[in-house]
């Protein structure tokens, strides 16, 4: 079943067209990986999916119906960014419960209960009263992920959530996402961690220059990319010494 | 010199005497539109310079810092309408007086104040900081709320703008203000004791003081102050005040 879909979407920044007439369906329970070179429009695509960016043409539908309101869409489509996005003036628990309380008008008690059980799941229950600056980068990203889960979104968007983490911490964050995949969460993920992408993806979408260049099953994509552009891209991830003295 | 002040010889040697005067007290000491000092005190200052045979450097002072200027020897003489009082005698030496003065009160014609008794607590009385007027009310009418200004210009502006019910100052000054400003009347022409205005020098500078005393004596002989009055004050006060102001 399709939850979100982009139909004939065109997005421009001023004169610059990021994509033209793009189609994309996000199906329930599917993990979609979007990869592509820098500047190819991956972030823009995610941002269009929850309407952080306005689109110039085309339509975005949610459960096959036009979008009622942006805030309603965003409640149902959670998003986690590269980083720096916990609210630094609130402790972990308040970070997680702020939006459920003020947007969904849920009671503080109920919201906190759920937040605590989510924190427990990602091994951070003892950090509930800590402030973001007291956490490591990896811990912060785990909180950011469960924070967006608190809103019970139907789809989760991840935009390079490990890009600014120390290598040690990348693993702990990606393991949480793997866990969500195992649970059947619908997710759209942009990442540069190819080993992770290969493991987690149900479907890989390779975009370049604002177009979907190649789409397919991860094993096929990584072992036998069909297009030259994708081959070249994967090439960039390998190193070879020409001669050895 | 260790004591800091300058004797007559020092001044003559230097060729310039520094005299502290008002620059915003029309018609005693003020600056005209060409930037030149004018007024009753200024005439005397210039004459002193002439008789000493030195150049005169006029220094603009305000009421509250006249004593400081002498103490810190920023000037040799203060000729800024300086009333002789016992407290001030402790701090500076006065030469012979050259003018009579008493206090007076000016107020808007619409609501003339004729007595300081029964003062309305909500009204402010304007005085200038460091003047005998301030000392007088502080001593005799401690309950009158004061509004203090540091310059004549500010005080007059404030009175005009309605920031106070009346202004207490030297009667010469309030008379002149009432004459030059529409809508104001001197309700109390004299108040307190009759006082004298005299040049002042740094405490202990008896040499300069003696010279000034002699100078004033000889100026009196030639009726200098009478002429000074005619030249600078008559246009404001008219002839009739001459006998009250000028010391014979």
């Amino acid at each position: 079943m399709t939850i979100l879909s982009l139909e004939h979407v065109t997005k421009k920044y001023g004169d610059f067209t990021v994509f033209n007439d793009l189609d994309l369906k996000i199906n329930e329970g599917e993990v979609t990986l979007i990869i592509g070179p820098s500047g190819s429009g991956k972030s823009t695509l995610l941002r269009c999916l929850n309407r952080l960016e306005d689109i110039d043409e085309g339509e975005i539908t949610f459960h096959d119906a036009p979008i009622k309101s942006e805030t309603h869409l965003r409640e149902n489509v959670g998003m986690v960014f590269q980083s720096y996005e916990l609210f630094p003036h609130l402790n972990v628990l308040d970070n997680m419960t702020l939006s459920p309380r003020i947007v969904q008008k849920r009671s503080r008690k109920e919201a906190e209960q759920e937040a605590l059980s989510l924190l427990e799941r990602v091994g951070l229950k003892d950090k509930a009263k800590s402030f973001p600056h007291e956490l490591s980068g990896g811990q912060r990203q785990r909180v950011a992920i469960v924070r967006s889960l608190c809103m019970h979104p139907e789809v989760l968007l991840f935009d390079e959530v490990t890009a600014s983490l120390d290598p040690e911490m990348v693993k702990e964050v990606l393991d949480v996402i793997l866990d969500l995949a195992d649970e059947g969460k619908t997710m759209v993920i942009v990442t540069h961690e190819m080993a992770f992408a290969r493991a987690v993806a149900d479907r890989i979408i390779f975009i370049d220059g604002g177009r979907v260049v190649e789409e397919g099953h991860p094993e096929d994509f990584f072992t036998h990319p069909k297009t030259e552009r994708a081959q070249q891209f994967l090439q960039n991830l390998t190193y070879k010494r020409r001669k050895r003295l | 010199a260790k004591q800091g002040y300058r004797s007559v010889d020092d001044i003559k040697k230097d060729g310039t005497i520094k005299i502290g005067v008002f620059s915003d007290k029309h018609p005693f000491g003020y600056v005209d539109k060409n930037g030149k000092y004018q007024g009753y005190d200024i005439e005397l200052a210039n004459r002193i310079g002439k008789d000493l045979g030195v150049k005169v450097k006029l220094v603009s002072t305000e009421a509250a810092n006249r004593i400081e200027y002498l103490k810190t020897n920023k000037v040799d003489i203060i000729l800024a309408n300086f009333t002789v009082t016992d407290e001030r005698k402790e701090e500076v030496d006065f030469a012979l007086p050259y003018m009579n003065v008493s206090l007076g009160v000016v107020s808007p014609t619409k609501k003339v104040i004729t007595s300081l008794d029964n003062w309305n607590k909500n009204d402010k009385l304007i005085v200038i900081s460091g003047t005998t007027a301030e000392t007088y009310v502080t001593k005799n009418y401690p309950n009158i709320p004061l509004q203090k200004y540091d310059t004549y210009a500010n005080a007059k502006n404030a009175l005009e703008n309605g920031n106070g019910a009346a202004w207490l100052n030297d009667n010469t000054e309030v008379l002149s203000f009432a004459k030059s400003t529409k809508g104001f009347t001197v309700g109390i022409p004299t108040l307190g004791s009759q006082d004298k205005i005299a040049p002042a020098v740094t405490k202990g500078n008896s040499d300069l003081k003696k010279w000034i005393d002699n100078e004033i004596k000889s100026l009196n002989k030639e009726d200098f102050f009478s002429k000074d009055y005619d030249k600078t004050l008559a246009s404001v006060y008219g002839k009739e005040y001459k006998s009250t102001i000028v010391i014979k």
């Binding site: - | 600056v31 539109k33 002072t61 810092n65 400081e68 810190t72 500010n154 502006n157 005009e160």
Partner: protein, 224 residues
């Protein structure tokens, strides 16, 4: 015009007298700024690299200067120094106070700039084989200087604005001249206070605004 008292400007030498008052203010702040820059840089470096005792004394001095209103400092210099038999003309007193104040502020800026210099810059200089002194001369100081120029220009505007206080210690500055003009023409031009003070207001603005703009421009341009 007459109603608002602007007419006074064009009588006699009034306008040029006002400008002279302003020139005096600008002149005093210019001298003080130059002295503060030189002394501030020396004392600022001393605050980072100097003997601990010197550093403590300097910090105390900077704190005092920053806490005390400039007017209080002016009063102390002008009236207070008599206790030490030091006698200053009001102009001299203001130059000294402005310089002491500016030096304090400037040295603090210099200290801040040195301390906040990225440590990496220093290290990459060393890693290229430079001596500590060479790193200071070729890497640290040029970068600090660039950061300080806009900051010291802000100090200049603050000094110019502070010259308005000189009136209080008897410098015949632009405000005193305006008072004299208003006073002398009380009868002929009763609204002089409005026109003249407005003009003074604008003159100060015209003096400070371009410097502020330039400082902001340089700050933006040189922030890398």
């Amino acid at each position: 015009m007459a109603k608002w008292g602007f007419d006074l400007l064009f009588q006699g030498q009034n306008l040029s007298r006002l400008l002279e008052g302003l020139t005096l203010a600008l002149y005093i702040s210019a001298i003080a700024v130059v002295l503060s820059l030189v002394l501030g840089i020396i004392l600022g470096i001393a605050q980072v690299k100097g003997h601990p005792l010197i550093r403590t004394i300097m910090r105390g001095y900077v704190h005092f200067i920053q806490i005390m209103p400039q007017l209080v400092l002016l009063f102390i210099a002008y009236f207070g120094l008599r206790a030490f038999a030091i006698n200053l003309s009001p102009e001299m007193a203001s130059i000294i106070v402005f310089t002491m104040w500016g030096t304090g502020e400037m040295s603090d800026l210099v200290r801040g700039a040195i301390v906040s210099m990225d440590h990496h810059q220093y290290e990459s200089g060393l890693a290229l084989g430079m001596s500590s002194r060479q790193v200071y001369i070729h890497v640290v100081i040029p970068q600090i200087a660039k950061r300080l120029i806009p900051l010291s220009m802000n100090l200049i505007t603050r000094m110019i604005k502070t010259t308005s206080l000189l009136l209080m210690i008897g410098v015949v500055d632009i405000i005193k001249v305006s008072q004299q003009i208003i006073e002398t023409n009380r009868l002929a031009s009763p609204n002089g206070a409005f026109g003249i003070y407005l003009v003074v207001f604008m003159l100060y603005f015209i003096s400070c605004y371009p410097i502020s703009i330039l400082a902001r421009y340089l700050e933006k341009k040189w922030r890398i």
